[in-house]
């Protein structure tokens, strides 16, 4: 391997200024992804934020309008055929021939892979099906599969040969709770074998449970990325204060630059009957004990004081907006 490749090789995926325009509308705009080797990387974003388009570019299905994508140390624009045998993927839902059995579908896709030896095809198809729990339905026509079974078959297809990198686009879509758990367990076990897993999802809980790293997309742009802890820290922490002296306390909190959250659902703390103030602060360097000291100094009776770290959900909503509409 040459020195030119070395420096980027500890990253499984690296994009620089990756942009995809459809007409004048940029579906993906100037995205710089950095996915380390061995990570379970959560790719978050609301519907229509450019996740799937990014994945298509990472797989060489679509070519970027600008910028470049490097996967496993190689430029996708030039070395698609060298990279793809090392990558397994599930892109935008499974796609299979309904009139063929699950097994026949996998055999067909496996034979399309010119690097996959045909002598071990039967064994590989059987073990991929076993790995996603579809052995019993292997000979059923895909037409008769439920959405969850098709999804499993899609994952089985990604696992046909040992891969260094797995790109899974919404892998738990349509799965029942058991299936979701199984997929999570599967991703963990793949990661423990050293496979880098890149999972896109709009389900935060899923990402929080299995990922080591995450990135957040919003309207085509990457708005945050890092380890999960890094992402949580950047979020605004919140102060939860229980006190009967609401009027005295509010000016003190405001002096520290804290934002009182309106429409506080727990206006009265249960049991004590004292009002609760929740205020968020953006300055992570602010020491909470100074707030308490100032409150006490202002003769506020502090009956409860708590710092709540931001959940990933808060962070997600803060980054991508509250709206339910698909943004353009």
């Amino acid at each position: 391997m040459t020195d030119a490749v070395r420096p980027t090789s500890e990253l499984a995926i690296e994009t620089r200024g990756l942009t995809k325009k459809f007409g004048r509308y940029a579906a993906v705009n100037d995205v710089d992804l950095r996915v380390p080797h061995g990570a379970v990387f959560g790719f978050l974003g609301p519907n229509g934020s450019g996740k799937t388009t990014t994945i298509r570019m990472l797989l060489g299905l679509a070519s970027p309008t600008r910028g470049e994508a490097r996967v496993l140390g190689q430029n996708m624009a030039r070395n698609v055929s060298a990279v793809l045998p090392r990558v397994g993927a599930l892109v935008e839902g499974p796609g299979f021939y309904p009139y063929l059995s699950g097994e026949a579908n996998l055999r067909r896709l496996d034979s399309a892979d010119r690097y996959a030896p045909s002598s071990t095809r039967d064994a590989r198809v059987a073990s991929a099906l076993a790995r996603v729990g579809l052995t019993a339905a292997a000979r059923k026509k895909v037409r008769a599969y439920s959405l969850g079974m098709k999804q499993r078959l899609g994952i089985a297809n990604a696992l046909l040969t040992p891969r260094e990198l797995l790109l899974l686009d919404e892998p738990t879509n349509g799965l029942d709770p058991q299936g979701t758990r199984e997929v999570r367990a599967l991703i963990r076990s793949l990661a423990s074998e050293g496979t880098t897993v890149f999972v896109s999802s709009h389900l935060l809980a899923e990402i929080e449970q299995i990922c080591t790293h995450a990135a957040v997309m919003s309207v085509g742009s990457l708005v945050a990325q890092g380890t999960l802890d890094e992402l949580r820290q950047v979020g605004r922490s919140r102060v939860r204060l229980v006190t009967p002296d609401l009027l005295l306390a509010l000016p003190v909190l405001k002096r520290f630059g804290l934002t009182i959250e309106p429409g506080n659902p727990e206006g009265v703390a249960s049991g004590s009957g004292d009002p609760v103030v929740v205020a968020s602060f953006g300055d992570a360097t602010l020491e909470p004990e100074r707030i308490v000291a100032a409150l006490v100094h202002a003769k506020v009776r502090v009956r409860g004081f708590d710092i709540e770290g931001a959940s990933l959900e808060d962070r997600f909503v803060a980054l991508t907006g509250e709206g339910f509409n698909v943004e353009h």
């Binding site: 299905l61 679509a62 070519s63 935008e92 796609g95 299979f96 496996d110 399309a112 892979d113």
Partner: protein
């Protein structure tokens, strides 16, 4: 589709056999009556009837479905990331369409030969040049005609492959391919455009009669092969140009 193709010579043979008693009533192509004298003609008659529409129709369906069908089933992206390689996928798909063309013509020939032998007398065949050849030799001629027609359909297959790379809707590519084959034949029948005729991919479709002469006149076979080869080169190149850089968004 192959079963439907096989049905054509069978239907012709049965229809002719049933109406045999009042021959020469002036309806239908004159050559249809030939098969009452010799069952070996059924295959040739079947092919002649199928060439203008039925064979191009089935080939258009298969060739138009090649890429667009995979795209609409959602399997194209998985084939490409398997990875199949884009050029390899195009090549395999084209070979598949060509193999279908061969299977389609052979189906008509074989079904025609079987039903012809079953319903009509089998005799040595009198060729267009007046000589007579034996039964075995005439079967070889039938297969030669099948080969000729397969070659004739290679250009259309390439056109269908190219159209299939343009869309994710297989029906659109199929219809466009079939329409082109009809347009080509219509243009071929307009005397005002006779300068254009040698360049139309359907121009030599019915010229296989030269294979029924003794000795065989190979010129039309050669001209046809060159023409179809040219269509293949042009449309395979267009398909490659379109498909190699296409964004697969299906």
């Amino acid at each position: 589709m192959l079963a439907a193709l096989a049905a054509v010579p069978i239907l012709i043979a049965v229809a002719v056999r049933v109406t045999e008693r009042n021959p020469g009533n002036g309806r239908g192509p004159a050559f249809l009556d030939q098969i009452t004298h010799n069952g070996l003609f059924v295959a040739v008659v079947g092919l002649t009837v199928c060439i203008p529409l039925f064979l191009p129709l089935t080939v258009g369906v298969v060739a138009g479905d090649t890429i667009a069908g995979e795209a609409s089933a959602g399997t194209l992206r998985y084939l490409l990331i398997a990875p199949s390689g884009r050029i390899r996928l195009l090549a395999v798909k084209y070979v598949g369409a060509a193999a279908f063309s061969l299977a389609a013509t052979l189906t008509v020939v074989v079904a025609g030969a079987i039903i012809g032998v079953a319903l009509f007398p089998v005799e040595p065949v009198v060729l267009l040049s007046g000589n007579t050849i034996g039964v075995g030799d005439s079967l070889v001629r039938s297969l030669l005609i099948a080969a000729y027609i397969t070659v004739s359909l290679l250009g259309l297959s390439a056109i269908g492959l190219f159209l299939s790379t343009l869309t994710d809707v297989p029906v659109g590519a199929m219809a466009a391919t079939i329409v082109l084959s009809v347009v080509s034949q219509v243009l071929d029948n307009l005397p005002q455009l006779d300068w254009l005729h040698p360049y139309l991919f359907s121009h030599y479709w019915l010229s296989f009669a030269d294979l029924l002469r003794d000795p065989i006149a190979w010129t039309s076979f050669g001209d046809n092969a060159v023409l179809q080869g040219a269509y293949f080169v042009i449309f395979a190149a267009l398909a490659y140009g379109r498909f190699s850089g296409k964004d697969i968004l299906s």
